[in-house]
Symmetry: D2
Subunit: 348 residues, 4 copies
């Protein structure tokens, strides 16, 4: 019998993508979907692409409606999941796609988000290497509270951690510039997210060290062995509905060669089903990952500049959010880590 | 009586944009347009947007067809303009939109392009500050041979030169990641430039220090006062026809504040008609510059990362190519620098 | 001395485009821009592409602020311009970019819009042929109240009127399907207009005879000589910021040949500066008209189907709105009809 | 043990999509992929999105390489599959994604394609209603030669057949205007398919009754009961990689009401897994079908115009090509018709 699932905030893009993935997962059955303004609406009217779930109807986001399921996924605005989560039983598996339980430092929370701090949960980035050589996914085994990473964070962390972990990249003075699709910003009605504004345009946002994903990236890099990492991080909205293309640079340690660096990444991710390092000299495009729980990585070294250039492509809604949730859920429940997750992208 | 103009290679995107700008310039009259495979075709069949030039027909690209004009613009593939230019009279104003006459170092030419080196011409980036405090545009006065800069080069050079010139930015270990539209790659029939490949995707290219624009950027920064600049430079194709959004970072000198840095850029470009620094905390999008000879710059400082973040937006075909050519031409001929050039973008 | 202009509702897309065109018009000077929620804001903060108008600031949309100018342009939501217009002096030239003064039939107004009917003004589609052989532009000479047509209406009317006028096309059972950019829907915060929703998608709207542009199209066709025209009209939003590509069909009268039909269109528009009929067998794309006051028309005949197929491309914000306003204004004031208006598009 | 599959022409977009779908099909194993210029290349280098098939390498397209499989899919240019097919054993299931075996009329073939006529195969549009009340899918049971329909044909046929079959729509004087993504045109290197040309533009093509899909549509409508159907058919390329949004109109028979028409479509497709009729007043967008084998239909009636307006959305590469091939294959082999086929789209 499949696990029963409730999804809170299921009318947004992240919630919709959790639904899409769960609809094809053989061990999960979505029984309850909740929403705020869409409560009472048929799911198919809000997500007309999810034909296989046409039987569901949104109900209000209340603890009562979420209780009684094996699994609860929270796809709520930042700052709102802490209170809801506190109402759920300890043995229910709860996955929070929002930011509320990602940061281990209350000071970071206060500086970048503010409001009540709800502590941190097991963090859902399985492929992250730890300083001690272990794979981060180990912490998810048997977990009942999982914080799903931010989408940009996943791209940058996967791109930097192996090199820093192996001592091939300096851990300070990192840079990352990301071309990102607007679906990462959600279904919010903001002028800059209008099609007329973004079609034919590239828009930077949260420039200059103020983006909320920065402390989360640094937290991950410290897990991987960085001592006092710093990063200049800039996302740029571009006219594609989904996708992240992260251009990451880091100074290389003395004497490191391009071959050595590339080989380290290949070795690090050799056994991973969802993270793939391309052959030397090749770099990924986001189209290759659309709809898939796949992160693709290209690794190069610009000897003149003394910097490695690492390109990471992923789908912000899958490996960046919903796929990470399902992958973490698989581990937490002792299912095969890849169960139900797409590996092939939808291209062109 | 207007100056007579011939444009070689006028069937491509750069040539088309030179035509568009010249059609509205009060002192220029395009008399001859040449092409290779399109010789014999009506201009309006190749550039159906240029209704005001429907009377023109492409002829072969030969010295004979180009002679007898006051101005010749070369919009030819790299490596082909040197030979043609040698056939033109010394008192004709020749502007080369290709790379052949940009680099002052024969070694750079050999490393990044190869083939015969034709020397360097007066370089068409008027707003570049020189180490001695002068404006680069001075070198264009009375010039008869002008090398038009590369589009990415213009964005990065305008973004870095003021800070380096003023000693506020370190001149080594620079980084630039650019979201660029495919028109900069020309009308070439390449698979990665197909609409099916680029729609919904971000594609990096020339990653890892191999891009031909790198030596040209460093040459400009040295003009502005850099001693031994290095830069990690990565362009990413995104699905917008035109535009460059450059995300540039540089380490700041000790003690430099965000206010100080911003004020320096404001002061540097205060008298420029085509380069504008946005108020502190604001950053440009490419849509704001489409069709205009305008570069917009946002200047920030991430104190935690110790890096300035400078965002430059421009239209690769206008300020990045054709507008730069016309602006340089205006200076060279003693016309008002802004004559005939659009300042307002076409948005949304 | 230039004419002084005030623009009401200048913070939207239509208002922004009026500003862009007027900024380059030699006989106009925009002195006042009004807005609702943006009152008090600098124009450059709302329209960062309009660098040449950076000195302007939005004021409230009140009769007081609009009075005292030679020309007032109303770019307000439907249903709101009637009251404002009534407060303006009779000798002021008022152009309404909204729908309030387009329909000559009060019954049509009641059915498609509702609310108070304010009568109809001189209608700003100069190239429309009248049944009596005259050019519609004649009615604009000396006009002081001008209703600017709807953008879809302009495309369909220009595409059908010559054939109907000449008796070559049947005037009933017409069809039009339009691929349109979202800027025509304005800067409204609606979910379906979000970039995430429209990127990679084509969205029909107002299907089944309910679109408000239908009575206006039929009104124009009757002017051109149609007796009882009917049209099936369907717009489809596609992911381009601006542009209309209208695919129009009409049954041909008995014995009409493709050559005859094409020749009629060529002859009809032969003297027009802004409407161009392509050679037989060629059809326009919207890119060819971006930023220009140009409508391009391709004319074909499918003998098997017994229908003419007429393709019209134009820029909804220029020939579809702001350019039509300026063109009408030129006629009304006795200026050259083409003064200040761009003929060349911005492509690619 | 799964059926073994060879795919000829697997390096194109249609072939790639067949691969994507077959990779997730539980009863199929792709053993051989052939190509022309890509022979010798690793599949993952040509289709970097198909990570699960990274073990495959392209071989030459020869009868020898295709023999020895249970199933052969031909995704070859028009005119080239006839000769190859003749070399394959009769008991092999061969599916032709090209046009060579679609048309039952040699005269149609000669007029629209030309070259050798190879006869027609069982036609892979299962949901098409026949005049006798049967479902077209019946002809596929046990078939060993299947012609996969053209993508535009599928959209228009599914949209018109029920109404014509039921006598609610007139079968002559039909119109269809389609917004289509460029992937339907394949990976061909043509100037009009470049990203620079299509971004921000809508381009009509094959206007005026010359499109090769017209005889195939009429053939289908005759199957459904039409006597002498005629259609005006115009496709328009728009800037989305995949998707077809067909706007179809037909005159309604006397006295037909909107409710009656809608009810007929609902009833016709009530048992279909892949074709869905939306509630009255709602119309689909293409994003809802991306990656899915789903066609969505909206049905309206414009009483003033006397025409039904039927909107059909589907993914040209899935329900329009590769999904139709797999669905037909499932029927031919006696597998469940929906096996392995995605129903949910990837949106936004």
């Amino acid at each position: 019998m499949p696990y029963s699932v409730a999804i809170a905030g299921a009318s947004g893009y992240a919630g919709g993508e959790v639904l899409r993935l769960m609809a094809r997962h053989p061990e999960l059955e979505v029984r309850t979907v909740t929403a705020h303004s869409n409560a009472g609406a048929a799911l198919i009217d809000v997500h007309p692409h999810l034909r296989s779930l046409a039987h569901l109807t949104f109900v209000e986001t209340t603890p009562e409606n979420l209780r009684g399921h094996d699994i609860v996924v929270l796809a709520l605005p930042h700052g709102t999941s802490g209170a809801i989560a506190a109402e759920l039983d300890d043995d229910v598996l709860v996955l929070d796609c929002g930011a509320d339980h990602r940061l281990t430092s209350e000071a970071d929370w206060a500086r970048y988000y503010g409001g009540d701090y709800h502590g941190s949960w097991s963090y859902g980035l399985p492929e992250l290497p730890h300083a001690d050589g272990s794979r981060h996914g180990d912490v998810l085994t048997g977990a009942r509270r999982v914080a799903v990473p931010g989408c940009n964070v996943t791209a940058v962390s996967l791109g930097l951690a192996p090199g820093i972990h192996a001592g091939l990249l300096r851990d300070s003075d990192l840079t990352a510039a990301l071309a990102v699709g607007p679906s990462g910003a959600g279904r919010a009605l903001k002028t800059n997210l209008l099609a007329s504004e973004l079609l034919g345009s590239a828009q930077p946002y949260a420039v200059g060290g103020v983006h909320r994903h920065i402390p989360e990236i640094l937290q991950n890099l410290r897990l991987a062995g960085a001592e006092s990492p710093t990063i200049s991080f800039t996302p740029v909205l571009v006219p594609m509905a989904r996708g992240i293309l992260a251009t990451i640079t880091a100074r290389v340690a003395d004497g490191v060669t391009a071959e050595q660096l590339h080989a380290e990444y290949v070795a690090r991710y050799a056994d991973e089903a969802f993270v793939h390092v391309l052959p030397a000299g090749r770099y990924p495009s986001t189209a290759e990952t659309v709809g898939a729980n796949t992160a693709l990585i290209g690794v190069g070294l610009d000897a003149d500049a003394g910097r490695a250039v690492i390109i990471v492509a992923l789908d912000n809604l899958v490996k960046g959010t919903a796929g990470a949730a399902v992958q973490s859920l698989n581990i937490a429940l002792g299912l095969p880590e890849t169960l139900g997750l797409p590996i092939d992208g939808v291209a062109p």
